[in-house]
Symmetry: C2
Subunit: 107 residues, 2 copies
DNA sequence: ACGGTAGTTCGGAAATATGGGACTATTGAA
DNA sequence: TTCAATAGTCCCATATTTCCGAACTACCGT
């Protein structure tokens, strides 16, 4: 029985506009990305959650969507997962997009 | 029996970032907005469709989502509906967002 | 080895999207 | 003024997606 071989991260050129927009169209995921950008260091999944009452399995799904859309990169660090926004890749692929969206996040 | 009292358009200040992103996260809807912006005049629903083989009811749903998210304005003009992108409202509400997204649409 | 914590996976329920067909409304022609 | 054609909406059944509880894996500290 084998699990979680590796996190699935798309290559820079495989990040799609549709995927990025769909990922950020959810308020929880937008909140996660906002939280990740507000800190220079990596954050664990639960630390980056916008509300503490979101079920674990739901949160895990949101992080998977963010990962598979190319918005964040996740690495294992002991018992927790460290997440960062893939700013360089996103700015290379869609210049100005991330900033334009997050400028208006949370009003 | 009465129908379609009026098209439902949110006021400028009621347009939400989440709604705009969710609307544009669909490739069909993104194509519609792109088509509408490529022409200075209004376009009918079927004229703005990215592919001709999309079922009418599905297309109608996509236009409703675009309308209710505040992305487009629809007015009746005889037998057809004329659609325009609400550029002024969107630029006032979320400056730079629309351009930043559509710059990368369709690659 | 054990207990605790972080996160994933599974599976069923709830919510949402799709599209066929019937319907409305408007126009233009007979 | 009636008739046919066209643009689009509404209804509703099906298909797809999302949500979340529960069971599970993985890692760390003791």
């Amino acid at each position: 029985m084998f699990f979680m071989v590796q996190f699935l991260h798309p290559a820079r050129q495989d990040i799609t506009l549709e995927g990025v927009l769909a990922a950020l169209a959810d308020p929880v995921r937008l909140g996660i990305v906002k939280a990740l950008l507000s800190e220079p260091a990596c954050m664990s999944c639960s630390a980056a959650a916008p509300c503490p009452d979101i079920p674990k399995s739901t949160l895990s799904n949101h992080f998977r969507v963010l990962r598979e859309s190319g918005l964040i990169q996740t690495t294992k660090k002991g018992v927790e997962h460290r997440n960062v926004v893939r700013e360089a890749d996103l700015n290379a692929r869609f210049p100005g997009l991330l900033k334009a969206i997050l400028k208006h996040a949370g009003e």
